[in-house]
Amino acid sequence: MSTNFQLEIFEGPLDLLLHLIKKNEVNITDIPIATITEQYLATLELMQTLNLDMAGEFLVMAATLIHIKSRTLLPESDAETDEDEEGGDAREELMKRLLEYQRFKEAAGELGQRDVLTRDVFVRATAPTEKPVPTAFRELSVFELLTALRRVLERLPKDEFHEVTLEKITVREKMTLVLERLRDDGQVMFESLFTDAGTRMAVIVTFLAMLELVKIRAIRIFQDRLDGPIIIEAAVGVEQAAEVIAKEAIEEDQDGR
């Protein structure tokens, strides 16, 4: 048995089967089940040897193939009519699935060849407006905030090596800074809070500060539409919130000593 497969990443068992069918230059409607089953199992073995993450669906398909193959091996007179049909059905069913999958695989190929935005064609970059006017805004869930945080973190420069001077800024200090910014600007965009945060730690401190401010109801975070810019604004009185923070800070200091 030859195992000189060029191992590709298969999208699933149907993809692997189509690959084998193509390689053997046979027709989907007329699969040499014994050969294909053998090669299919050999590929699975190889995938296992290489420790490739193999989805359970690959094994289910292996069982189906073996089942179909066993049917074809039985002498016709020995096989009960019912079972024979069952085997035939399984084979036909598989054929249908392969044809169906093949159609969409081709359709996917055609989609991929279109002029894809930001790959082949581009539109003018739109700068997010700093002070959007929300019409009917919606509140965000924590998950959406986390997604936004992930975006900010992804934009950070990748591990650049340079001399480190630890800039210690506490969440509480950052809360005050955010409030000051809101007092000046009224509203700010989520992303713009992170523009001067150069490190992961700085981003996370800012994010925690934001969450704390939401908790004490000093700020509100919302979006005017799904996927729209995330907007932060002062909720009640910024002054009032600033006072609360200042007071807590003093209490904390006293506790600490």
Binding site: E11, G12, P13, L14, D15, T29, A55, E57, M61, M95, K96, R97, L99, E100, Y101, R103, F104, K105, E106, A107, A108, G109, E110, L111, G112, R114, D115, V116, L117, T118, R119, D120, V121, F122, V123, R124, A125, T126, T147, L226, D227
Partner: protein
């Protein structure tokens, strides 16, 4: 309104618009010009840009009009913009194709065609707003039905779903009744 100035105004609006600009919106803004005049202006802009091989072209996309760079300049634009190129993996494309042709479609139906679990890719496509839940199927468990979004049309430079190439017909096998492309496009248009 004089033809040349109308053309100029339309071009300005196309330039500043944040996304595909609909004829409806253009007509609302440009008082004194009716839709047929605006359509004529759009067509002139399109042919002007095309025939002079300009660096932007007028494309009909997602039910509107948008200025986009031509494909032949892609490498330069990409170099200028930097960043990662848009990734279009096979799992993504296959799943998108199934949703596009079979919508509204459930996760289980996508899985039946692809033969693999599609949880991850469906979530990613939702996050990227390329597909969305359009309803629930009236079967046990009431699973979500998914359909494509205007962002899908924008991503693939499509005016509407009728621009999807016809699925290859199969001779030997009778497949489940395919949804008529025309009907499909119509139904979706209404929703967008």
């Amino acid at each position: 309104m004089e033809g040349e100035s109308l053309k100029s105004i339309v071009e300005s609006l196309l330039f500043v618009a944040e996304g595909p600009l609909t004829l409806q919106r253009l007509a609302e803004v440009i008082e004194g010009a009716d839709k047929s005049e605006i359509t004529a202006a759009l067509e002139q802009i399109r042919t002007d840009l095309e025939s002079n091989r300009r660096g932007v072209r007028l494309v009909e996309v997602a039910g509107g009009y948008q200025l986009r760079t031509p494909k032949e300049n892609a490498d330069w634009v990409k170099k200028f913009l930097g960043g990662r190129p848009a990734r279009m993996g096979r799992a993504t494309l296959e799943t998108l194709a199934i949703v596009a042709y079979r919508q509204p479609v459930t996760k289980a139906e996508i899985e039946a065609i692809r033969g693999v679990d599609v949880d991850g890719v469906v979530n990613t496509l939702m996050e990227r707003s390329l597909i969305r839940a359009v309803g629930r199927k009236d079967v046990p468990g009431r699973p979500f039905l998914f359909g494509t979004t205007p962002e899908f049309l924008q991503l693939f430079n499509m005016k509407d779903l009728s621009e999807l190439p016809t699925l290859k017909e199969l001779d030997e096998i009778t497949l489940p009744e395919p949804v008529g492309e025309g009907v499909l496009a119509e139904g979706i248009d209404e929703e967008l």
